[in-house]
Amino acid sequence: MPRDDQRAAGGPAAGPKEPEFLPTAETTRLAAFETFVLRNQAVVYRVALRILGNKEDAQDATQEAFVQAWRALPSFRGESSLETWLYRIVTNRCLNLLRSRHSAEPLSETREALLARPNHLAETRSELEALKDAIVRLPPEQRATLVLRELEGLSHEEIAHVLGTTVPAVKGRLHRARLELLHAMRGWR
């Protein structure tokens, strides 16, 4: 019994006319978008993970960013590269998430809790882990700037576009972030 049905399901030419299976502009667009997600998920997830510092939030932010990208795609005018545009969406997602947390639980508390971590614990951690920790403890804007510059290799101009700010502001944040990391890492030793 399944054999005949299988042939009928093979394609529009084989079976009776099935309007629901005719490709529409939207299905074509969505199929192309699937490829786009597949190609860019690694970059988006990496940025989210570095900014948010944990896998669950990073995965959520990645998914949300792509859904948002789909919605915003019709208004994409090509003022920046598609990649920069995507950086902008995911970075803002992450920053919004951090800001909403910030208001829900004061950051100072979290910072204090983290700083109060006993030293012997710190000693057993590798310096790379310590660095990740230090990055996650930077204020959100500094953190995003640092991730985009040092880990993703974006230019100051691109970062300014992604964060909706000016090049001098990007340079200032980067400066402060680098110094803060240096202080944090010296503290580990």
């Binding site: 699937e34 997830y45 859904v67 880990l151």
Partner: protein, 198 residues
């Protein structure tokens, strides 16, 4: 903090820029001989070697991101009344078999097949229980063909290859009889052996 100075009067920030951006030193002659500059540069270099290491770190992408994104979008479009059949967009994401008959179609979801299998397996005395880790019954439907991956706990004292053969035969027989689909493969992972009744 941005204008923090070392004991020798050098700006800390300028040393950081020197390492991070490859900017040439402001006072190269001083830097060569200054113990403060040298010690600080060593710290910064060490930090930056870790930063560079971080850029090279492999990150495992969680599976299912593409799937969930496309599903969300399709659901959104459907909510807007734009009916997009998932199989037309992303055939990989289709989780059901479609049986087309002269007077209508029948859709059988993968979870329905999984439920049938769960039921029939628990009727086999040689199987103690289903496994505990991850997806214990994974059903993949391609067209009208089914591939099944199972994780099982076998009752103690049973010959494991025989148990696997029994399970395989039972799954093929029951699923094909009850759904009309063809079972292509039944892969079995024995997770553990347990004594006594479940």
């Amino acid at each position: 903090m941005t204008n923090e100075l070392l004991a020798c009067g050098t700006e800390l920030a300028s040393l950081v820029d020197q390492v991070a951006d490859g900017v040439p030193p402001e006072r190269p002659a001083h830097q060569q001989t200054c113990p403060h500059c040298q010690a600080t540069l060593q710290d910064i270099n060490q930090l930056w070697s870790h930063v560079r290491q971080l850029t090279r770190e492999e990150i495992a992408i969680p599976s299912g991101i593409v799937e969930r994104v496309i599903r969300r979008i399709v659901e959104e479009l459907q909510a807007l009344g734009r009916l997009i059949p998932l199989d037309a967009v992303a055939p990989r994401l289709v989780r059901h078999a479609l049986l087309r008959g002269p007077s209508g179609t029948t859709r059988i979801a993968d979870r329905v097949v999984a439920k049938l299998i769960a039921r029939l397996i628990l009727d086999l005395p040689s199987v103690h229980s289903l496994g505990r880790a991850g997806r214990v019954i994974d059903v993949e439907i391609t067209g009208l063909e089914v591939t099944v991956d199972l994780r099982l706990v076998v009752s103690y004292g049973r010959r494991i290859p025989d148990v696997a053969a029994t399970v395989r035969a039972a799954v093929i027989r029951r699923v094909e009889a009850l759904t009309g689909l063809e079972v292509r493969e039944v892969n079995i992972a024995v997770e553990s052996v347990e004594m006594g009744r479940r």
